[in-house]
């Protein structure tokens, strides 16, 4: 299997059981295509998921796979990744699975920098349980469990991941296959924990949730592509850009200090912020995540952060090696004689 694979090698024999038109299909396709081009091998790839529509994903991949329980996939994957650093471990999760019941495992996996790649299918709804609001649902949304509008302020998964010190944090959407492929590939290449938020359309319970920014004709004006070392500009005519307001010298307080969108021609090209994914300090990445208040106004997509910090499983292995080197590989004879012993004749 070390030869080049084709997409067929990644397709399992299971019939795909998502609703016709569900955004999950295109994510599946993008993943299969990416794995081919990346040169990954099915036998060394494991998909671990929780529960939700999206979490059926592993069944459709001809790799090792576990459809675990709701919210716990990052924890399962953590044990697997620490004990098997040779495997590519992917976590497939939804906005409910990852951020509602699974929020704690999610932030801890990122903090520890476990070598797992988390794909967060964010459709801003609970699909599998038939349409309740999720921790990413916009305020005021009418759903089965919020017939008068939901009151809960939604998480921004990118902000949360950065607050939890994620070393790789990105966002993409299900309408742009190439962008998904790029993001998945970047996640795959990253050593350590990677989180990719995917805006995914649930055409049954939350159709069009992302339309304002991901529809073909809306993208240019509403998606702000983040590209390493490039100025952050967007708009049909690339006429808009992100600037650090303080560059104007306004550091004396007031709500306007920090990132904002400006017309390039108003502020000048040289004031446009140049994106740097590799900043150790995550503050600017965080600021980028706060740029939009929701998926109804210009929103950054791409890699917010990609810093190289030691991966947990490797450190565990190093520590084992280090102790072995110092103390010698343990033998059972020694073990049983760790404490004082005496002999009875």
């Amino acid at each position: 299997m070390n030869t080049q694979t084709t997409r067929k090698d990644w397709v399992s024999d299971q019939e795909v059981r998502w609703c016709p038109g569900c955004g999950d299909y295109s994510v599946l396709m993008a993943m299969q295509m990416m794995l081919v081009t990346a040169g990954a091998t099915p036998e060394n790839t494991v998909f671990v998921s929780g529960i939700g529509c999206s979490s059926r994903f592993p069944y459709y991949m001809n790799t090792y796979g576990v459809h675990s329980i709701h919210g716990r996939a990052p924890a399962f994957a953590t044990g697997l990744a620490i004990s098997r650093p040779d495997l590519d471990v992917w976590v497939i999760t939804g906005d409910g699975d990852a951020l509602s019941i699974g929020g704690n495992h999610f932030i801890h996996a990122l903090r520890r920098n476990i070598n797992i790649k988390i794909l967060l299918f964010n459709n801003q709804i609970y699909g599998l349980t038939k349409g309740q609001y999720s921790p990413t649902t916009e305020i005021g949304h009418i759903t089965k469990s919020s017939p008068y509008g939901s009151l809960d302020a939604p998480f921004n998964p990118v902000s949360l991941a950065l607050g939890a010190q994620g070393s790789f944090v990105a966002r993409t959407h299900d309408m742009d296959r190439q962008h998904m492929i790029d993001m998945f590939k970047r996640a795959w290449l990253h050593k350590g924990a990677a989180m990719v938020e995917i805006y995914q359309n649930c055409n049954i319970y939350n159709d069009g949730a992302f339309e304002k920014i991901t529809a073909k004709d809306a993208r240019a004006d509403n998606l702000i592509p983040l590209e390493h070392k490039k100025p952050i500009i967007f708009g049909k005519e690339k006429e808009l850009g992100v600037i650090l307001d303080a560059a104007d010298g306004n550091v004396t307080g007031g709500p306007s200090v920090n990132l904002r969108i400006a017309k390039v021609q108003d502020v000048g090209q040289d004031k446009i912020l140049v994106h740097d994914e590799t900043r150790e300090d995550s503050s600017l990445a965080f600021a980028l995540s706060r740029l939009s208040r929701g998926v109804f106004e210009p929103t950054p997509i791409g890699v917010f952060r990609d810093v190289s910090t030691p991966e947990y499983g490797a450190q565990v292995a190093d520590q084992l090696d280090g102790v072995k080197a110092k103390k010698g590989t343990g033998t059972l004879k020694q073990l049983l004689r760790s404490g004082p012993t005496w002999t009875v004749d």
């Binding site: 299997m1 399992s12 299971q14 091998t41 099915p42 036998e43 060394n44 494991v46 671990v48 529960i51 592993p58 069944y59 991949m61 001809n62 790799t63 090792y64 796979g65 576990v66 459809h67 675990s68 329980i69 716990r72 924890a75 399962f76 994957a77 953590t78 044990g79 697997l80 990744a81 620490i82 004990s83 098997r84 040779d86 495997l87 704690n104 495992h105 801890h108 565990v316 520590q319 084992l320 102790v323 072995k324 110092k326 103390k327 010698g328 590989t329 343990g330 059972l332 004879k333 073990l335 049983l336 004689r337 404490g339 004082p340 012993t341 005496w342 002999t343 009875v344 004749d345």
Partner: protein, 640 residues
């Protein structure tokens, strides 16, 4: 200092000694040292630490009392003993808290310096028990331990307030003299242990010697005692707690199965020490993962199992609750997983440092759906080693989560352990699948992850990374034998019964339960069976011995396997007209036995966060034999 006795020396066949003092007084430390002295001297022994949940409750108060009980003997013993022969009480609170545990036969050695007005008040004494006559009838030795310790440190350079803290070693020196303990090992240990703090070392040594010499010279004590070495089987020994025995057993089991050991755990009393112990052994390739919570801990262990490691998780009651859902997943995935529950007194947070046996039913039934799994329990600290290896064997052979029950009593208690011959253990073969196991109609050879071994009903365990065996498994119902998701009604019924039968079938693979009944078939035969499980072993065995010494007949059977039961258990039960089940709960095994065998078994219940005393059980057995209504120890305790 040699072991020359200037006083009258009496021989004892056993000694039950209890150290009690403030949490900060170092009672556990001197208890441990006394144990080691005695073990190396050759006594058999069992220890029982008994400490509060607070780290350092306010000095001098009852909740702050920390105690350590030890029984040493010149013969084989199984419990830390019931009523102390001697109680060392470092302050009034220690005396008061332990007064319920002693009788007038108990020698009391108090640190008289501590019986000042303030300390008496803190302990809730309205007058001084040393002087108000309330100890009349007791043999009390008042020793000004604090001042003698400070005195001994003179010119050492230590401040009196610091020197004072060595008074526990003074006490240790004193009892070492009284009970004829060799002192060399203590002094050697001090030298090593305090090497980096020479002043502390000096003060402690002086205190220890002062205590020893005080015994020798004070002419306060009419006699000293000797407890000869026990005739233990020859071999090399060490002293071990149940928690350490579990940790070591896991390392050995991993070796026997040639698997990497992965422990996912979240700290919780009284299980944490297993994590601590294993974390030390990284040079054995042991991976310990301190998870964010118990759910993550067991999930990570299960993930490691999926990856081909020996996945283990350790916890206590509240943590076991949290693991329930994942344990259900594990048995649906049919992967090996070991869940170790070191039971403590519940419900809820309960009394976190105290033992209880009240997690048996939740171990057996505490998951939604029909979710059976093997449950085992260890009976002594050293037995933990053997049982954990057996639990691993079953988990691997049957691809199933296994729950192993220990408790706070076994966890912290210790006894001498003859190092086993490791060649005597059978290898455990993980038997990873290495090729497809099924031929499709079209001739393709594929892996059916739920195609089972005909004998064990175990499914293949596949190492991710093996080309051609890629497969997907999950918690939804699976089609037999392909493992695909299936909602077919008949298939679900079939799978449910297969999962049950797989676990039930383990009964064929475990030893029959042994019945200790020397009078079996003698005369009229024995009428009464005492059935136990877990840590009641020592107390029941001792009680049965004593009952028999009185010329009465009683049988004792002790269960290691709680699910499935040994296959001869029904036969055993049917041979006795009466069955009683001592349990530190309200009757959990009793219920299981009654349901399964329709035997009118009665629970002898004790739910005090304290192990049974053998005297309690002896009394109970006698009264049952005498035809009196049997009742639990608690009723006794509460009403008297």
């Amino acid at each position: 200092m040699t072991n020359v006795k200037t006083t009258n020396v009496k021989q004892l066949d056993k000694l039950i000694l209890r150290f009690a003092g403030d949490s900060g007084d170092g009672m556990q430390l001197v208890g441990d040292r006394f144990s080691i002295e005695s073990a190396i001297f050759g006594n058999d022994l069992v220890t029982l630490p008994d400490y509060p949940a607070e780290i350092r409750a306010p000095a001098g108060t009852l909740p702050g009392v920390s105690a350590f009980q030890i029984q040493i003997a010149d013969h084989d013993i199984l419990t830390p003993g019931d009523i102390p022969d001697a109680l060392v009480a470092m302050n009034p609170a220690a005396l008061k808290a332990n007064f319920r545990n002693i009788t007038s036969a108990t020698t009391i050695i108090v640190n008289s310096d501590s019986f000042d007005e303030r300390s008496l008040a803190k302990a809730g004494y309205s007058s001084n028990p040393l002087t108000d006559g309330s100890l009349a009838g007791y043999k009390v030795y008042e020793v000004p331990m604090t001042s003698l310790t400070v005195e001994a440190s003179k010119d050492s350079g230590a401040k009196p307030r610091d020197a004072e803290r060595a008074k526990n070693f003074f006490a240790l020196g004193l009892v070492s003299w009284i009970y004829g303990r060799p002192t060399k090992d203590v002094l050697d240990w001090m030298t090593e242990h305090f090497a980096s703090k020479p002043l502390v070392l000096e003060v402690n040594k002086r205190a220890f010697n002062a205590g020893y010499n005080f015994g020798e010279t004070a002419e306060l004590f009419e006699s000293s005692y000797e407890i000869g070495p026990a005739k233990l089987p020859p071999g090399e020994y060490t002293q071990i707690t149940g928690n350490t025995a579990i940790a070591w057993g896991l390392v050995v089991a991993a070796d026997l199965s040639r698997l990497s050991l992965f422990l996912g755990s979240y700290p919780i009393t009284p299980a944490s020490d297993i994590l601590h112990e294993l974390a030390k052994h990284k040079n054995f390739g042991v991976r310990t993962f301190q998870a964010e919570d118990e759910i993550s801990a067991v999930q990570a262990a299960l993930g490691a199992s999926f990856g081909g490691s020996l996945g283990v998780t350790t916890t206590s009651g509240p943590g076991l609750d949290l693991k329930a859902e994942t344990i259900g997943l594990a048995l649906s995935l049919e992967l090996p997983l070991l869940v170790i529950d070191v039971q403590r007194a519940g419900p809820s947070t309960g009394m976190p440092t105290k033992p209880e046996q009240s997690d048996l039913l939740t171990a057996c039934y505490g998951r939604h759906g029909e979710a059976p799994l093997p449950v085992l329990a260890a009976k002594t600290p050293t037995d933990c080693f053997d049982v954990v290896i057996e639990a691993v064997r079953i988990a691997i052979k049957y691809r199933t989560p296994v729950i192993l029950l220990s408790d706070a009593y076994l966890a912290n208690g210790s006894e001498p352990w003859r190092l086993p011959d490791l060649d005597g253990f059978d290898r455990i073969d993980p038997g990873f699948a290495d090729s497809p196991n099924y031929e499709e109609a079209d001739g393709r050879r594929v892996l059916y992850p739920y195609l089972r071994d005909a004998d064990t009903l175990a499914r293949p365990w596949v190492l991710p990374g093996t080309p051609g065996l890629e497969h997907r498994i999950g918690g939804l119902e699976k089609k037999e034998p392909s493992g695909e998701v299936s909602y077919d009604p008949i298939n679900h019924a079939l799978m449910t019964r297969i999962r049950r039968d797989k676990i039930a079938g383990i009964a064929r693979d475990i030893p029959p339960v042994f019945v200790d009944d020397p009078d079996d078939g003698v005369g009229e035969g024995t009428q009464l069976l005492v059935l136990g499980w877990g840590s009641t072993y020592g107390a029941i065995t001792t009680a049965a011995k004593r009952v028999r010494a009185r010329g009465k007949k009683v049988a004792h059977a002790h269960l290691t396997y709680l699910n499935p039961f040994p296959s001869n258990l029904g036969d055993v039960l049917s041979k006795y007209s009466k069955v009683i089940v001592p349990e530190c709960n309200l009757g959990q095994l009793t219920m299981m036995i009654r349901a399964k065998f329709l035997v009118d078994a009665h629970c002898i219940s004790k739910v005090q966060g304290q192990p049974f005393k053998s005297s309690e059980l002896e009394r109970t057995i006698i009264s049952v034999l005498d035809g009196q209504v049997q009742h639990g120890i608690d009723e006794d305790g509460v009403t008297r």
